[in-house]
């Protein structure tokens, strides 16, 4: 019974982790079709922002939930205005530029902070469930991930901002004709995608620690989740994270983490073989 509860929590937290690291990329890729190779670095910067803020006395929750997304969001917007916006439509150049950004951020952070692992401890300690104990923080992550998805849904569906964003992505010329400034919308969207990644990085910092190169660990899974999810940002990310998170965590629990990773890759390849446009290329098409 406790085992079942633990398993459920493990799986949910795996899904939450995947969803968190992917949602920022999903926004940028899903809405702007930009492949952001610096995505891992946005996560990394969020982690560093949270850690530095915490080490300077800021409350850990504020550091993770406010400082990290703010800092990375601003960085993202600057990157978009300074670099990315000149390259829309030029895929290879965008790849090179975001890759250049990735190297730049890694180099910058290494120069400033060195290569050792920085860390903060997961707050809230652990709680007992039957014979097992589980870190409360993982439960928090599950809740936060769900909350983030819910907020995005509400913003996109119910607010004017969301409507403008969706409209501009569909048809920038039309939006411009209606008085919306597409460049502004792109900058904001990229910034928000970056902020979401920063938030995720901050939240995951206590669990994984941060190295300048920690982005690489996230990038693969984030990309696979987003591509497998398909064109719908929310439904896709949720569905793919759900599927892969379950496969990964269950395999990891019953065998080894290595097999869990391999299982995730295998699941992704099989999925894309069957559904080349991702899950929401076939079902829930046209949803958010």
């Amino acid at each position: 019974m406790d085992l079942a509860a633990i398993l459920v929590i493990e799986v949910l937290s795996g899904i939450a982790g995947l969803a968190l690291i992917s949602i920022g990329l999903a926004v940028i890729f899903g809405m702007m079709r930009v492949i952001n190779l610096a995505h891992g670095e946005f996560l990394m910067l969020g982690g560093y922002a949270a850690i530095v803020a915490t080490n300077h006395g800021v409350n850990i929750w504020i550091a993770m939930l406010v400082v990290a997304p703010l800092v990375v969001g601003v960085i993202g917007m600057i990157a978009e205005r300074a670099i990315i916006r000149f390259l829309y439509g030029r895929m290879i150049d965008t790849l090179l530029a975001t890759w250049g950004l990735s190297l730049f951020f890694i180099g910058l952070v290494t120069t400033i902070f060195g290569t050792s692992v920085a860390g903060i401890r997961a707050p809230l300690g652990s709680v007992a469930i039957g014979r097992y104990s589980i870190s409360v923080y993982r439960l928090v992550l599950i809740v936060v991930a769900a909350a983030i998805l819910a907020v995005i849904f509400v913003v996109l569906r119910r607010t004017r901002l969301g409507l403008i964003a969706r409209g501009t992505m569909e048809n920038p010329d039309m939006a411009a004709a209606l008085g919306v400034s597409p460049p502004r919308v792109y900058a904001m969207t990229f910034g928000i995608g970056a902020a979401l990644s920063g938030l995720a990085g901050g939240l995951l910092a206590p669990i994984s620690g941060v190295l300048p190169t920690v982005g690489a660990a996230y990038v693969a899974k984030a990309f696979i989740t987003v591509i497998s999810g398909g064109t719908a940002i929310l439904a896709g990310t949720a569905a793919a994270a759900g599927l892969f998170g379950s496969v990964n965590q269950l395999l990891t629990y019953f065998t080894t983490p290595v097999i869990g990773e391999a299982g995730l890759l295998a699941a992704a390849i099989l999925l894309l073989r069957v559904l080349p446009h991702g899950i929401t290329g076939r079902w829930f098409r046209g949803s958010l």
Partner: protein, 336 residues
């Protein structure tokens, strides 16, 4: 195709490579010899992506996956067998088989450019993560412990077939790698000039038209992709031998990015281009690596950004054109 004499560029390049192979061991010291050996091995790697992307039009961002598989396959087999010949064979076969399976899923699923790039990138990164987590005694294949992020040291290096005691010395290694480079270079040229090769190029130009002519596009892509995987695996084997060491960095984002840069800088669509691109970038990396002023990543990052922004026509066409004008063939579609 119309029977032509080997393009003068090919002959010249081959002659240059042979000349280098013969002259170098006489004029450089051992350290530089080792450097050049690894450069040559990486040139073979560059060729593998050069043919898959430049000729096949397949956007493979994870070529390092096959490179790494080759390196690890060599390491594991050499440790288990104590003899290198079988290890070399597996170093080519294992990545080729993996490329074939991956290729099957991608091409027969009719995945397109962007997806191909992302999936192949993800594959190499997942290998990276996977291999990094294999530290500990439990992770072993036969006698070979994988060692996770620490890597596998003290690999048995290449010996003469059948004679495990007779290991190749650095000069012999250099000759071998150069010989393989020349063979791969000429072999790929011959292949690209054959019926199969011309179809692959045509697929890159216009996949639909190729299908309308009755060619099985998916099969051709699969075959060229598999070949690229095998060649990358060979390069991985040579790389592992160079340092007698292999670690998960062979799968890293840094590694796979470098391969892409070599091909872009050198010239997408030629064979000489990736070789030149590789040599230039390796030289620059070594040069920058030894200075302490600033972090290498930082420098390269800034260089990429500056290039991409200041070259309004786009980095790729300009560099490719510069590269082609400097080192390449007179006509865009010709093969050097």
């Amino acid at each position: 195709m119309i029977r032509r004499l080997p393009h003068p560029g090919i002959a010249a390049t081959t002659a240059a490579m042979v000349a280098v192979a013969l002259a170098v061991p006489r004029v450089v010291d051992e350290f530089e010899l080792l450097q050049l050996t690894v450069f040559a091995a990486l040139c073979i790697l560059a060729l593998s992506l050069g043919v898959v992307w430049g000729y096949g039009g397949i956007l493979c961002f994870g070529q390092s996956a096959f490179f790494g598989l080759g390196a690890y396959a060599y390491a594991v087999t050499a440790i288990n067998l104590g003899e290198s010949t079988g290890a070399v064979v597996l170093a080519v076969v294992v990545p080729a088989l993996f490329a074939a399976s991956l290729g099957y899923f991608m091409f027969y699923g009719r995945l397109s450019d962007v997806y191909l790039g992302v999936i192949t990138l993800s594959v190499t990164l997942i290998f990276f993560n996977l291999m990094n987590s294999t530290a500990g005694d439990a992770y072993r294949i036969g006698k070979a412990r994988l060692n996770g992020f620490n890597g596998m040291p003290s690999l048995p290096t290449l010996n003469l077939p059948g004679d495990p005691g007779r290991v190749l010395d650095p000069t012999e290694m250099f000759y071998l790698v150069m010989a393989l480079l020349v063979i791969v270079y000429l072999g790929l040229h011959a292949l690209m000039a054959s019926h199969f090769g011309r179809v692959v190029i045509a697929i890159r130009e216009n996949e639909t038209r190729c299908e309308l002519l009755g060619y099985d596009v998916r099969l051709h892509k699969l075959l060229i992709f598999t070949l690229g995987g095998g060649i990358a695996g060979l390069a991985g084997c040579l790389f592992a031998n160079w340092g007698a060491f292999v670690s998960p960095t062979v799968f890293s984002l840094a590694m796979t990015s470098q391969i892409i840069i070599w091909v872009i800088v050198g010239g997408l669509g030629t064979l000489l281009g990736p070789i030149i691109g590789c040599l230039i970038m390796q030289y620059l990396t070594t040069m920058f690596g030894t200075q302490q002023i600033a972090n290498t990543n930082l420098i390269f990052g800034v260089i990429f950004l500056v290039f991409v922004l200041l070259v309004p026509r786009g980095l790729v066409p300009t560099l490719a054109r510069l590269g082609a004008r400097a080192f390449g063939p007179p006509r865009a579609r010709d093969v050097t």
